[in-house]
């Protein structure tokens, strides 16, 4: 039997959290309503409900020269997944080195990567163009991928280093004494213990890849069949043409659903699996 005080204690977080999400919730509720309505006044649909705005799911609205929403979603998924895997991979390699290995320049590298985030990406683009051109990677998906991964690194490296720091030394020590290589220790022993960190990095890397727009736009010439969802959404807007805001809303909602699912997947899978594991002894 819980006392009133205890019950309040349990309820308080729920109350505060519920209040905090009200604005966001209302906003997204409107987005959903607007995507199914002809027009809206405030939160109320006016002029009836319709499925027209979601037509793009079944009928390519742009004619044959353009990829369908499903092809575009697939493209976006490929890019986002690639990015996530490579960002996690590269960041955790570097994060491990910075956390565990002793070498000169450790602190400088760490401070440097953080400071790099002080540069607005839009102003670095022309400099990156010169680098890509010198490498022959302008208008090349591989070049675009490298740049996108590079931009996530300040975040990824710091995050991973932080999580590695919290892992106890014992397991590693034992494995290294047994003769395992550093790489093996990293891959088989340490990485699995920082699943929450990987989950955190993965979601942000995935979001970056999924919503990527500026870097692909700047360094490729037209997207064609490789268009991503951001490009697809752009096709619905315009300055001197008719814009169907209902369709814009619908595509926007469509764009965020897979990422929301990915978030649930990483949070649920990785964290639940982790919570059962035992931490190594001190």
């Amino acid at each position: 039997m819980m006392t009133l005080r205890q019950k309040l204690g349990v309820a308080t977080p729920y109350v505060i959290l519920t209040i905090s999400v009200v604005p966001i919730f209302v906003g997204y509720l409107w987005l959903v309503i607007n995507s199914f309505a002809v027009r809206t006044e405030g939160l109320l649909p006016v002029g009836g409900l319709t499925l027209e705005n979601w037509r793009f799911l079944v009928e390519a609205p742009f004619g044959r020269g353009y990829p369908s929403i499903w092809r575009v979603t697939f493209n976006t998924f490929l890019i986002a997944t690639f990015m996530t895997v490579l960002v996690v991979f590269v960041s955790s390699l570097a994060g491990y080195a910075l956390s565990r290995l002793k070498f000169s320049g450790r602190k400088s590298f760490l401070s440097l990567t953080l400071i790099l985030h002080a540069f607005p990406s839009v102003t670095l683009l022309i400099g990156i163009f010169f680098v890509l051109r010198a490498l022959g990677l302008y208008n090349n998906l591989f070049g675009v991928g490298l740049v996108m991964i590079g931009f996530e690194l300040p975040f990824g490296i710091w995050l991973m280093k932080g999580f590695f720091d919290n892992v106890s030394w014992d397991m590693e020590r034992a494995a290294l004494i047994d003769g395992a290589s550093r790489l093996r220790v990293w891959w088989e022993i340490i990485l699995p213990t920082i699943k929450p960190g990987i989950a955190a990095l993965a979601i942000f890397a995935f979001i970056s890849g999924w919503n990527a727009w500026l870097i692909p736009r700047t360094f490729t010439i037209g997207a064609g069949q490789q268009a991503t969802l951001s490009v697809y959404l752009q096709n619905f807007q315009g300055d001197t043409v008719m814009v169907q805001w209902g369709a814009v809303t619908a595509v926007g909602l469509f764009q965020l659903i897979p990422v929301a699912l990915f978030f649930i997947f990483t949070q649920d899978l990785l964290l639940t699996i982790y919570s059962g594991g035992a931490k190594g002894g001190t």
Binding site: G9, P13, L17, S20, V21, P23, F25, G27, Y28, W30, T40, E41, L43, S91, A94, Y96, A97, S99, L101, K102, K107, S111, L112, L114, I115, L116, H117, A118, F119, P120, T123, L124, I126, G127, F130, V131, V147, G150, F151, L153, P154, W158, G162, F163, I177, R182, L183, W186, G197, A199, F204, I207, S230, L233, Q237, G252, Q255, L256, A260, F263
Partner: protein
């Protein structure tokens, strides 16, 4: 021999990240500094040898400091960054992360997911949503609530009435989710033994949070504050779409947005890359100064522990 092997090992681990950082950050940054001394623009990229010192000058900087509104823009930037950081990018992030760690797991996912939605939404659609929230009656959502209650600016556009409130709210809701996810993961990583021990000792929830949880996430806190300060300094897309720096003269114009307006968004297609770089350099100096201060305050050196296994 071992030392050499250790060093090679370290470099091996660092090579992919190091390579990318050098190629796509360090070199472009050097180019940025050089460009800030030049007048490179779209109309002369074919003819200007911007890398030759003969073509360098401080004209860009003179132009920036000659603009009598740049103190106002600096002030806006400081206000915006500090307020959004404290209220949302750090404050709300920490609050939500701590609160969701106290409740049942499924409910925690749900709340975190809602807080994550702004970050997942394409900017155009997200701003469309906010514009509609703040729109005039009868189409605006907030006004639908406020007008019958007799509150607010009589059904007028709410962004016009309080532009900063919306700019901070709009950006803050996106920014908070980064800290929230990181803090959540960090709190999740705290060995359960500590929390159990704390409970056994009779500590209340608040005490546990204050004396066990928070100290154990010091590194993520430093990281989030520093990283988000820099993020807030350099991002402007939402402000561009929401108020475009208005509604008056530079009312909500921040430094990065001004750089974009003056140099990189040009109605004649003549992007002023050199001029824009000068704006960026000044912003960077501010950002780096902030980062250095943070690292001092949080005693970065202590947090970067010496590795315990170096020679085996």
């Amino acid at each position: 021999m071992r030392r050499l092997r250790n060093r090679l090992e370290a470099y091996g681990f660092l090579a992919p990240a190091g390579g990318l950082v050098i190629l796509f950050f360090i070199i472009p940054v050097i180019i940025l500094f050089i460009l800030s001394l030049s007048d490179l623009r779209s109309s002369n990229i074919t003819s200007l040898d911007w890398w030759l010192p003969a073509n360098w000058s401080l004209a860009n900087y003179a132009r920036i400091f000659g603009n009598r509104f740049f103190p106002k823009i600096l002030g806006n930037t400081a206000f915006y960054v500090v307020t959004t950081l404290i209220l949302f990018n750090f404050g709300s992030a920490l609050l939500i992360a701590v609160l969701t760690s106290l409740i049942e797991r499924r409910a925690a996912f749900f709340f975190r997911l809602i807080w994550l939605l702004p970050r997942l939404t394409p900017a155009v659609v997200y701003i469309l949503m906010w514009t509609r929230i703040a729109s005039r009656a009868p189409h605006g959502i907030l006004n639908q609530l406020l007008v019958p209650l007799g509150l607010g600016p009589g059904g007028g556009d709410l962004i016009q009435a309080s532009p900063w409130a919306f700019v901070i709210l709009v950006n803050g809701l996106i920014g908070a989710s980064l800290g929230m996810v990181i803090f959540s993961s960090a709190i999740e990583s705290i060995p359960k033994d500590y929390l159990r021990a704390s409970k056994v000792d009779g500590a209340s929830t608040l005490q546990t949070i204050r004396y066990v949880t928070l100290p154990m996430i010091k590194w993520p806190m430093l990281f989030v504050i520093t990283y988000q300060t820099l993020s807030l300094l350099t991002s402007f897309e939402q402000i561009l779409l929401l108020t475009d720096g208005g509604p008056g003269l530079f009312t909500t114009e921040v430094w990065s947005l001004q750089a974009f307006h003056r140099a990189l968004s040009n109605a004649a297609g003549n992007n002023l890359w050199g001029y824009g770089s000068a704006w960026a350099v000044i912003l960077v100096i501010i950002g780096v100064a902030a980062a250095v201060i943070y690292m001092r305050v949080f005693r970065f050196d202590d947090l970067v522990q010496e590795p315990k296994i170096d020679v085996l």
